[in-house]
């Protein structure tokens, strides 16, 4: 290896590739429940949000949403402690579609066996680290709210 090669960015070319989308459906709610509490049965306590299990656990579904980011995640609680946290869906989009119901609709019924291909077909991303702080804060809120549910 000798030296470096310089590549001068034509500004227009970079802009033409703006608005990529990265979206993956990792787990359905059912799959996430089975991973967290493999042999338990679930009783819905708050529709679509909180379940109690026959083994004494609690399963809470939540999401974070921003202009360009939507994350569905599940928190499993056992004995007042976080048992596990799983991301069910993760999507980044820069066309502003994240809030649109029709755009969200395309994910309904997808399972982890059918990863989504959206826009530029981006499956793996490297780059400056994205913070998971919003999810971590959400987990704390959920633990405070439901940790002592019996």
């Amino acid at each position: 290896m000798t030296g470096w090669i310089r590549w001068t960015a034509p500004a227009a070319a970079v802009i033409s590739l703006s608005a990529p989308a990265y979206a993956v459906q990792y787990l359905s709610v059912g799959e996430a429940q089975k991973l967290a509490f493999p042999s338990a049965s679930f009783t819905e306590v708050q529709p679509g949000r909180v379940w109690k299990t026959s083994s004494g656990g609690i399963f809470v579904l939540d999401h974070v949403i921003g202009k360009h980011l939507y994350i569905d995640y599940a928190v499993s609680i056992v004995g007042g402690r976080v048992h596990r946290v799983d991301i069910l869906q993760y999507r980044e989009s820069y066309g502003g579609e994240v809030r649109s119901p029709s755009w969200l609709g395309q994910f309904v019924g997808k399972t982890s066996g059918s990863p989504l291909k959206v826009g530029a077909d981006i499956r793996n991303i490297s780059g400056a680290t994205l913070s998971s702080m919003h999810v971590t804060e959400g987990v704390k809120r959920i633990l405070d709210a439901y940790g002592h549910l019996r």
Binding site: M1, T2, G3, W4, I5, R6, W7, T8, A9, P10, A11, A13, V14, I15, L17, S18, A19, P20, V24, Y26, L27, L35, V64, I65, G66, K67, H68, L69, Y73, R84, V85, D86, I87, Y90, E92, Y94, S112, G113, S114, P115, A120, I122, R123, N124, I125, S126, G127, A128, T129, L130, S131, S132, M133, H134, V135, T136, V139
Partner: protein, 303 residues
């Protein structure tokens, strides 16, 4: 690899999103192996978190200035590589920059800890490895944060778990620091360091690791969250001029650490990259990209 045979999952760990994909076994078995791989990442997190008072790193920062402290084999392994890179990079790679990050509020500090300050620079490494997993600091105010290398190490450990189970394909991506094995190369898009919504280019990664550094982004607001979190230990200031760096290397621990060196010294990292059989690109504020020639065929820039 047909993706219908693969399982892909994500958990929030190491302050970012860790994604693990695997193929080559029954679905239920893949889920179990992936759980085990996440557990390896979680263990690295527990051992090396600066934030967790029970981590090896916190124990070292509290006590290693006054006595030799025994740490987990993984922590020791990371510190071995960190001190080797410190020596090989003439002090540019430095896990003892923690006080600079504390001064800027990028890392927390204990109320009873004196005002954070980096010790006088010296050619001698501030961290002394005594063998048998024991570590001592040479100076009283030394504080380490292995965040610049531990994430890559966590990726390597998780990928080891997938390999040990004889899977045909595996990929671990910890917020952009990733490694993969398998019969087909993995296509990885590289985020533009100036704008999370843009793609700089893509690289094919086959049985290798890729890591990137730059500013952190808050995707809820799509804002660059302020300063670059890579500090130049010589000027003791955030890196300027270079806004992002991406490195391909045989292991993710090395790739992760070398991104910091490339962020700081740019072209000056050439011989170090060669020593560790690594390739790199970096992006200047002007938008210009510099890339090592051995990598230009595997990287497609967005043109």
């Amino acid at each position: 690899m047909d993706i219908s045979d693969s399982v892909r999952r994500t958990q929030p760990l190491l302050g970012t999103f860790v994604e693990i994909a695997a193929a080559g076994a029954e679905r239920g078995d893949l889920q179990q192996v992936i759980d085990e791989a996440f557990a390896a990442v979680a263990q690295v997190h527990r051992l090396m978190s600066f934030h967790d008072p029970h981590s090896d790193v916190s124990l070292l920062n509290r006590e290693a200035s006054t006595r030799a402290v025994a740490v987990h084999a993984w922590t020791y392994q990371v510190l071995q590589m960190a001190t080797e890179l410190h020596r090989q990079s003439a002090g540019v790679f430095d896990v003892t920059v923690a006080p600079l990050l504390q001064q800027r509020g990028l890392l927390p500090r204990d109320a009873d800890d004196p005002a954070p300050a980096m010790d006088q620079r010296s050619a001698e490494a501030a961290v002394e490895l005594l063998g048998e997993g024991r570590v001592r600091y040479r100076r009283p105010r030394t504080r380490i944060d292995p965040g610049g290398i531990a994430k890559g190490f966590a990726v390597d450990r998780a990928l080891d778990v997938l390999r040990q189970h004889g899977l045909t394909r595996g990929l671990v991506n910890a917020g952009g620091d990733l490694a993969a094995f398998g019969p087909e190369p993995e296509l990885v898009h590289i985020r533009h360091p100036a704008n999370a919504g843009q793609v700089l280019g893509s690289a094919a990664i086959a049985n290798a690791a890729l890591a990137s550094s730059g500013r952190t982004f808050d995707l809820l607001q799509l804002s660059a969250a302020g300063d670059c979190a890579v500090f130049d230990p010589v000027t003791q200031r955030p890196v300027r001029g270079i806004i992002g760096a991406t490195v391909r290397a045989p292991s993710c621990m090395v790739a992760d650490a070398l991104t910091k060196v490339v962020m700081i010294v740019g072209e000056g990292a050439e011989s170090l990259l060669r020593r560790y059989r690594a390739s790199a690109l970096f992006v200047l504020e002007s938008g210009d990209v510099w890339i090592t020639p051995d990598w230009q065929d595997a990287v497609r820039l967005a043109a």
